[in-house]
């Protein structure tokens, strides 16, 4: 039995947030039902084409999966259970937004085995929430969190964001204080990225360039301020007993997100749903991103006509066989996102060659510059290395 992870994408939102470039949109309940049916078809299809797998983690991401009515969520998880073997200790997470959960829904979640929730708060300041285009205010979040705890969930993540327009240390501290007081098991703290194709891009693109160049900005924090906010978050959370185990992720009592760590460790995973990504047998694939095509393919399969496809699944949009070089690059730039880095022995075991033979000069240079350290057979980024990880990790891409 091969242990694998399963990612399930739910591309629906009550309203699109102004900074978000994830694959999601506002669709009515009819479309949600149609999509769920299509998703269940894909799950069956994927299970049939990947026999002998046992699922160690499930992550239902979005969009806002918690917006789906409980019967649809039930249908999805039930289908997974029917088609796959699932580790009895599997971590099963669902992404939620404040205001989309009820006591009844949470009871259904519990009954079908969902044991971890990730709640998107982003900020405890209502003005910031409004600016981000979130659907909720801080009180709504408190109510949701209370429901979640009352329903018995003991593995809960709260998402927050740093580097927001007009954010300062005082405002951030308020958010951090509000969150840590509630003692969630896990906190993800992401820096705002101004992504193309979002309303934020139109509004802040020039500011983002200025920020990147280290110049004075209008509304976004300057690069120095953003750095201070990011560092403040780190110190604050560590102080409250949250241990950073990845660039943006903090956990207390070892309650890390096993699913996400699987990505950094290159554990095989299957993604189902619109636009989802998979890694299996060193092949990376992504599903198509057109929701109508997606449901049509599933409906065709249900009708007994398997659509012909150039790629190995009719759901695929891209398929890439990873070379050894690709795999080595990934091993490094994914593994080094973790605070404890990568093990030399893992590299040797996976690729049959000493890590120094491939990356020796780069490792030496980064160690000399203080961005990397080596201890007890492991290589890992230092704090300042993580601060500029984008720069540092790009050095592990090999020349063609």
């Amino acid at each position: 039995m091969n242990p694998i992870e399963l990612y399930i994408h739910i591309p629906f939102c009550v309203k699109k947030c102004l900074y978000c470039d994830f694959l999601s949109g506002v669709f009515d309940e009819k479309m949600q039902r149609r999509y769920t049916a299509a998703l269940c078809t894909e799950i069956k299809y994927v299970a049939a084409t990947h026999p002998n797998c046992i699922i160690s983690t499930i992550y239902v991401g979005g969009g806002t999966p918690s917006w789906l009515s409980e019967d649809l969520m039930d249908a999805i998880i039930t289908t997974v259970k029917e088609c796959f073997k699932i580790d009895p200790l599997a971590e099963i997470s669902v992404e939620c937004n404040p205001g989309t959960l009820s006591a009844e829904k949470l009871n259904v979640y519990r009954s079908i085995g969902i044991n971890r929730l990730s709640i998107g708060l982003q900020s405890a300041n209502d003005d910031e929430l409004k600016e981000l285009g979130r659907i909720h205010d801080y009180n709504r979040f408190l109510h949701t969190f209370d429901l979640v705890r009352k329903a018995g969930f003991d593995n809960v993540n709260v998402d927050i964001m740093t580097g927001l327009p007009h954010q300062n240390v005082a405002k951030l501290e308020k958010t951090l204080n509000a969150v840590t007081m509630l003692r969630p098991e896990h906190i993800s703290a992401y820096s705002l990225i101004i992504e193309k194709g979002t309303p934020f891009y139109e509004k802040y693109r020039f500011d983002a360039v200025k920020q990147q160049a280290g110049m004075e900005t209008e509304e976004l924090p300057t690069d120095e301020e953003a750095y201070r906010l990011y560092k403040f978050t780190m110190d604050y959370l560590e102080n409250k007993g949250y241990k950073r185990y990845e660039i943006s992720n903090y956990a207390r009592n070892g309650k890390i997100c096993r699913h996400n760590v699987g990505y950094w460790d290159r554990v095989p995973y299957l993604g189902v749903g619109l636009g989802s990504a998979s890694l299996f047998d060193n092949v990376r694939t992504t599903n198509l991103r057109d929701i109508y095509k997606y449901v049509e393919i599933s409906e065709a399969i249900e009708n007994g006509t398997i659509p012909s496809a150039e790629l190995s699944s009719p759901y695929f949009d891209s398929e890439e066989q990873l070379s050894k070089k690709d795999a080595m690059e990934e091993f490094m730039f994914l593994g080094l996102r973790k605070i404890d880095g990568v093990a030399r022995s893992d590299f040797f075991q996976m690729f049959g060659i000493d890590i120094e033979a491939i990356y020796g000069p780069i490792i030496t240079a980064l160690r000399n510059q203080g961005f990397m350290e080596a201890k007890e057979g492991r290589l890992y980024l230092t704090d300042i290395g993580i601060d500029v990880s984008n720069q540092v990790l790009s050095k592990f891409l090999l020349d063609k």
Partner: protein, 601 residues
């Protein structure tokens, strides 16, 4: 052909006064081209020339005109380059003519280049017919321009054709004036051969095509000829004349004719502009006067942006040189830029044209170092070197003194801007010579200026300080002793050879400061702090710092979409490739060009 029915002439004008348009119109009116064949500006046949509206290479065309007297005349129209960089080419083109049409803009009147070109034409004993162009403009003031021509140049202009080359108005008057006011050539078709080379062109099939004016004797197919300056000898394969845009072979070119010859010549350097072609068997006693070897005035380093393209750059330069004897280059290496070439040009326009042609016609991405003039370095041991690359400046202890090239500049400007222009010349270390009012509202100012002060952006500064009204011309004057120093740029404490330049010691501090400011903006932040210093010798005279980048985190998770994450990292890495690595600092290629634009603000 009867010599009395031939007219060899050129058109001279200040830039933009309509020289090429008039040439087009003459060609069109004489019926050698149908309207359909008539592309705008037939004579400027390089794309670049058409785009910039300037003539880079001389061109010639033979046309047939049936005059009002019922006779057919052969017109050989020789187009001349209009820019001061190509002054020598202009003078050789003029020497191939017997007359010239002077085009003056009816609105703008006489400008500095008008004067320079007219004097050049008169120096060559050409008869000059003035023509007043752009008569259709609302601001045209022909009466005033006639006065100017008569007062300033001393040419009779009352009967000058008043035309619009653009609309075709009164072009007929010009054609008749050519017949009646310009002289026919003379020359003995039986005398020993003397043919003046005024241009050449490399053709991959025929070899060099030599453009010449036969002054004495006759040039025939099969003749054995010698170039009197280079002593190269060839067998003539083909002679002919110029149709519109094509070469039309004929049997012979007798005295008085303008045409071309080919002789399987592989190297354009064997057929220098200004040289005289004669017969090997019956040589002329003397070459035609005026030949000189042109030397580059401005040098710069040209490097391929992608080091692997070095051989491509060499091939491209060799090909361009086939057509352009004035272009010189030799290999050089720079610590910062790798392998490249030190190239010599007639002037900054020539440099820009070559650079653009390399980029456009040969698809090369180039990094250009700051242009430099040729300095003379007199060493303490009594020897002298001509310095074309600042990096080669000897140790100061070995230098006795240095000299820099000077020019005599003539600037024509309306009186309200005289002060501003004199300030500019003063700032550029000019030595005032004289000023005369050529009419009530306009003056001709003469200055001696160091060439290195005008090669960057003098022309732009002149235009902006006179709201476009000043015109400018210059000629080389020779060398003058000067206090010069080498300004070095240190990035992260390492000297970047490609950024060094020679500067007048009195302006070194200012240049160094601007340079550091500019580089600070050009160099992206690194993972460490980067000091940028300007130094003269071991003395740092200016300093800026590029602050270290402290945060660059790619935190988003993208639901396991690792391909997207990798693409972002690849983009990061790709960006670095377009940079030049100096020590452990990555310098964008644009930074090497930034030295050229120090006076922008």
């Amino acid at each position: 052909m009867d010599q009395s029915k031939i007219r060899n002439f050129c058109i001279v004008a200040h830039i933009d006064h309509g020289k090429s348009t008039l040439a087009d119109r003459i060609i069109q009116m004489t019926g050698t081209l149908t309207d359909r064949e008539m592309q705008a500006q037939v004579l400027d046949n390089m794309d670049l020339e058409r785009e910039r509206g300037i003539t880079i290479k001389s061109q010639a065309v033979r046309i047939i005109y049936k005059a009002d007297d019922g006779q057919e005349y052969i017109f050989n129209l020789i187009d001349t380059p209009g820019h001061v960089d190509f002054n020598y080419e202009v003078s050789r083109s003029l020497a191939a003519c017997d007359g010239a049409i002077l085009v003056v803009d009816a609105a703008q009147g006489i400008e500095a280049q008008t004067l320079a070109n007219v004097y050049l034409a008169l120096d060559h004993d050409l008869d000059v017919i003035p023509v007043i162009n752009k008569i259709d403009l609302p601001s045209a003031d022909p009466e005033h321009v006639i006065e100017e021509i008569e007062d300033i140049i001393g040419l009779e202009a009352q009967d000058a054709p008043q035309i619009s080359a653009k609309t075709g108005l009164n072009i007929h008057d010009v054609l008749e004036a050519i017949v009646h006011q310009l002289p026919a050539p003379n020359g003995d078709v039986k005398a020993p051969l003397q043919a003046l080379i005024f241009d050449s062109l490399y053709d991959p099939y025929k070899g060099v095509i030599v453009f010449c004016r036969v002054k004495e004797g006759t040039l025939k197919v099969g003749d054995k000829v010698r170039m009197m300056a280079t002593n190269a000898e060839f067998d003539v394969v083909e002679v002919g004349y110029f149709g519109a845009g094509q070469f039309i072979p004929c049997d012979e070119l007798p005295a008085g004719m303008v045409g071309y010859m080919t002789a399987s010549i592989k190297n354009v350097r064997d057929t220098r502009v200004g040289d005289t072609i004669t017969h090997v068997n019956r040589p002329a006693a003397e070459p035609l006067p005026g030949y000189k070897k042109v030397n580059p005035m401005v040098y710069c380093g040209l490097y391929p942006a992608d080091g692997a393209k070095y051989p491509d750059l060499r091939d491209a330069l060799e090909k361009l040189q086939l057509n352009d004897a004035a272009l010189q280059f030799e290999p050089e290496t720079s610590i910062a830029l790798g392998f490249g070439f030190r190239c010599g040009f007639l002037g900054l326009l020539h440099l820009e044209i070559i650079q653009e042609r390399l980029e456009r016609e040969y698809n090369l991405d180039l990094v250009t170092t700051a242009p430099s003039v040729v300095y003379r370095v007199h060493k303490t041991d009594g020897t002298m070197i001509e310095l074309t690359n600042p990096s080669n400046l000897p140790d100061p202890s070995e230098i006795d003194y240095m000299e820099e090239p000077m020019v005599d500049a003539e600037i024509m400007v309306t009186s309200e801007f005289i002060g501003a222009i004199m300030d500019l010349c003063q700032e550029r270390r000019g030595q005032y010579i004289s000023m005369e009012y050529i009419e009530e509202t306009r003056a001709l100012i003469k200055y001696t200026l160091p060439l290195n002060e005008i090669i960057y952006d003098f022309f732009d500064a002149l235009k902006s300080r006179s709201r476009g009204y000043a015109s400018f011309d210059y000629e080389m004057k020779g060398y003058q002793k000067s206090e010069l120093v080498k300004l070095d740029i240190l990035i992260n404490k390492e000297e970047v050879d490609a950024l060094s330049f020679i500067v007048f010691s009195g302006t070194a501090y200012e240049r160094g400061r601007k340079m550091c400011e500019k580089l600070k903006d050009e160099i992206p932040r690194h993972l460490f702090e980067i000091p940028i210093q300007a130094a003269v010798g071991s003395k740092v005279i200016a300093r800026e710092t590029v602050k270290a980048m402290r945060k660059d985190v790619l935190a988003k998770c993208y639901g396991g979409d690792i391909s997207r994450k990798k693409k972002l990292l690849e983009k990061q890495k790709e960006g670095k490739k377009r940079m030049r690595q100096v020590g452990n600092v990555e310098i964008p290629q644009a930074a090497f060009m930034s030295v050229l634009k120090l006076d922008e603000d």
